[in-house]
Symmetry: C2
Subunit: 218 residues, 2 copies
């Protein structure tokens, strides 16, 4: 089984796919696409990904896009260890938690949105950072309200990390990029800490990717 992932060190959606593959113990090759310099718009990549975004997941020639669809496919491909609970209500809750950042928090702070704000509203770096901070904080607050009702024990759905934790850890990375304090969100902060204590999460972190290391050396 040959798996390739077109990804980018800073991409939180790429992070999610990386963690899922590592939790499943599936080896993969990552092909970097520098979405900050616009490599996704170069001829050729559109044939790989019609949306011109990362990640793209390639499995024995079968190509797939959208991180959540990719992770659900990985779950079908390799059911153990499960990333989603078997109980339908629990599975639905896991997906709801995932979508809170995948469909609400994260889409608002991607490079294409930040670039479009700068272009359309002449937003400077500070204004773009405030915009991103606002939406990321909204997500943090939603998670904290949810965790007040059902505390992670110790992961979002129980004893083992899964889809929800992967997405929430990605949200914590966004907060970290934006230098947001997590002190007002202690349950989320503890959950993220627990995730990053695991090698699958720690080694998938943007700052652990070769692309970041090359970038930091520049």
């Amino acid at each position: 089984m040959a798996i390739q992932v077109y990804g980018f060190w800073r991409s939180i959606a790429s992070f999610r796919v990386r963690v899922a593959l590592k939790l499943k113990g599936l080896p993969f090759e990552e092909i970097p696409v520098d979405i900050l310099s616009g490599q996704q718009f170069k001829p050729g990549y559109e044939d790989v990904n019609a949306e011109r975004v990362v990640p793209t997941f390639i499995h024995d020639g079968y190509s797939l896009f959208q991180s959540l669809a990719i992770i659900e496919y990985i779950e079908d491909l390799q059911p153990e260890p499960p990333l989603l609970p078997h109980d339908p209500k629990e599975r639905a809750y896991a997906r709801s938690l995932a979508l809170t950042t995948v469909a609400d928090g994260h889409p608002l702070i991607t490079p294409r949105v930040r670039n479009h704000l700068a272009k359309t509203f002449a937003a400077d770096a500070h204004a773009v950072e405030s915009w991103s901070g606002h939406w990321t904080t909204e997500g943090l607050a939603t998670y904290e309200r949810l965790f007040a009702r059902r505390p992670p024990a110790p992961f979002a759905l129980g004893e083992a990390p899964g889809l929800a934790d992967i997405c929430i850890a990605g949200h914590a990375i966004a907060a970290h990029f934006l230098k947001l304090e997590l002190t007002a969100f202690p349950a989320l902060a503890r959950l993220a800490e627990r995730c990053f204590a695991l090698p699958a999460f720690a080694t998938s972190h943007p700052f652990e990717q070769p692309g970041y290391k090359a970038h930091a050396l520049r």
Copy 2:
């Protein structure tokens, strides 16, 4: 089985849930939450939905949020007729198509985003409409590129309408709200037309909801 949906006539995410329930033949009661006037921020609704958005799905006292998680739960609850293919690759493609609008196109044009643009960047109605038009057109173009590779036959995944069609029809509604021409996106336009020829889609359309009719009479 008692199902209630907190929704809003204009909400595209509420539309998605409505169609799914109708395709499954599951009766439900819709409780309107006027997200244009800010009813979702009133005390009480946060207890129903920690994110303070619509839709919220209640099934015999079990509460669930995020339209895609809700539809997957409905699929688990009532497997026939299937809204997702059984083949893992096909199921993954259906989810990818759904997420193209759920996680990329739609989050950028919700009322809370439009309001925040107005507040933060002093964007007037025209600027907000341009913003929404830009992202909705990006989504239309992505779908058209995908359909050029794999034409709907006649629905996105084959003979029967499912999750992907529901989400794409919702994207077509957004385009309609924004008065965008679909002539440059003929495959998507045909797919949407086929969807809205079905009662489950037609009767779920925002303009067919009691809330819209009351609004239009004002």
